[in-house]
Amino acid sequence: MSLKKNKLIRKISSPAIFFYASLWLIVLLVIGTVIQKDIGLYRAQETYFSAWFISYEFIYLPAGRTTLTIVFINLLFQFLFMSAWSIKKIGLHITHFGAILLLCGGFLTAYFSSEGSMEIKEGGRSSTFRDYHKLQLSLVDESQPNKDIVTAVNELMLYGGSTINNLPFGADIKVLSFYRNCDPRRRKEGGADNLKGLSKNFSIFPIPLDKQDERNRAGIVLELTGLSAEVNGIYTLVEEMEPHQHFMVGDKQWRMELEHKYYKIPFEIELIDFEKKVYPGTAKAKSYKSDVFVHDKGVKRKSIVEMNAPMRLHGYTFFQSSFTQSKDGESTIFTVVKNYGRMFPYIASIIICIGLMIHCFLLLPKLIKKGQ
């Protein structure tokens, strides 16, 4: 039996699926755009476009990711099994291929891209950057004199009732509660005996999410078990808020903190000098420039990162975004982006253009004839 006649393939590659999925995407786009006024840009993107499903009470509707996956499968099946492979249709095939490539790029960006900021003091080095939105629970071995060894637990594992095992110091963590935005309040009365650190004096309460995500301050209450009686207990951590919780396991001191997710890059950047130029007679910045050394596999080379001239290396792009000044000197702030799908939109757009041009070119004689 020919694949074209297979009922399942015919159903999957039906143009009706593409039609209705596109209509649904328009609906999502309108809702997502309108609602960002109330819930903020980041939350709107996460809820309507990056999620698989949108839930309203007990009703689950497909969000952007599900809809685009359906469109991708539909287009792929249409392209592979239902296309009429003739020279007359070559323009359409190239266009469809371009659209599939565009969706592949979207998939790579959605799953494998990361974006954040890197701050380096003049004379300092860094090989990590900090995510703008995602969080991690960091368990830091502070026993080394010149470095910290961080075991980072992804935010996706931090929800009320989850258990985190196989930690490097042999303990287990049970998450009692996790709030994406919380209010730490001083306890009016003493709590249970096993409260440790900040938990002794503070408890956290969930509050509604702010529409500006950077204003939200996450908090977690967790129970540490499997260690000595002195260490076992309930700890409270609030995002980027000191004091962090310290405890001893054997002769090693560990630190626990809830912070923005850090990404390790496979090379190191050293800031030699940061230069800020201002418009004459004003404090308004005209340009920022960072002279850096890149330490890559034992090789040291000089590079410059400046406004509108990013540095690209091993798939990472470093944009000059800001700076800070303190009594210790200046620090540069780079926006760091890693996106495996970065080139896909460019390549896909060119392919789609070529496909449409060929299709128009092939149709031209017919149109001219019709016109006459």
Binding site: K7, L8, I12, W52, T69, I73, F107, Y111, E119, G124, R125, S126, S127, T128, V140, E142, Q144, N146, K147, D148, I149, V150, T151, A152, V153, N154, L156, M157, I164, N166, L167, P168, N181, D183, R185, N201, I207, D210, Q212, E214, R215, N216, R217, E239, E240, M241, E242, P243, H244, Y262, K264, S322, T324, S326, K327
Partner: protein, 185 residues
């Protein structure tokens, strides 16, 4: 190939897409971080090792570092509690913090628009700060917020309505005097 197999393949492909994501636990090495509380622990000698310096009003007492505070101030005769606290990032922003303080005074939450109407802006040596006065029938809070690069600084005074009114000018002159600490070690 039966329909069952085809459907299974399709479901597996979808499951593959859904299953892709970031690893749950990773380990990496990084430069040592210096934390404010570790500095406090090492140097609890009563001197100011915080990143900021200030001009203390003459009639106030000062106590360096306690819990999350960089410094606490009070009156010798009591009745006033002033603290300077620094938190990372935007620390919730003006609306969330003002409503948190309103909650502590058993006042209803206010909209951002109404809160901003009560905010006054002044300049200090580390940048502009926003201050406001919150009161219920017994107590008052005078609070200032500094949005600094990567951090937010809070100065909060708590006391009776009369004491806060009496110390308002001292509070604001303290807020205006806050600067980077050149003698921090």
């Amino acid at each position: 190939m039966s329909r069952v197999f085809k459907t299974t393949y399709l479901l597996l492909f979808t499951a593959f897409l859904c299953g892709c994501g970031e690893p749950e636990i990773v380990t990496y090495e990084t430069e040592k971080k210096v934390h404010m509380n570790s500095v406090k622990k090492e140097k609890s000698d009563g001197h100011n090792h915080s990143p900021y310096a200030w001009d203390k009003p003459e009639n106030w007492t000062q106590e360096m570092g306690r819990s999350m505070r960089l410094v606490s101030f009070g009156l010798t005769e009591g009745g006033l509690d002033v603290s300077i606290v620094q938190l990372g990032g935007a620390a919730g922003g003006i609306k969330a913090n003002v409503n948190r303080w309103r909650g502590q005074l058993s006042l209803e939450n206010e909209s951002e628009e109404n809160i901003l109407k009560t905010i006054t802006k002044q300049k200090s040596k580390i940048g502009e700060f926003s201050w406001t006065l919150l009161s219920n029938e017994k107590e008052s809070f005078l609070v200032s917020i500094y949005n600094l690069p990567g951090a937010t600084l809070f100065v909060k005074a708590k006391g009776s309505i009369a004491i806060i009114e009496q110390e308002k000018n001292n509070f604001l002159s303290l807020c205006r005097s806050i600067k980077a600490n050149d003698h921090q070690h």
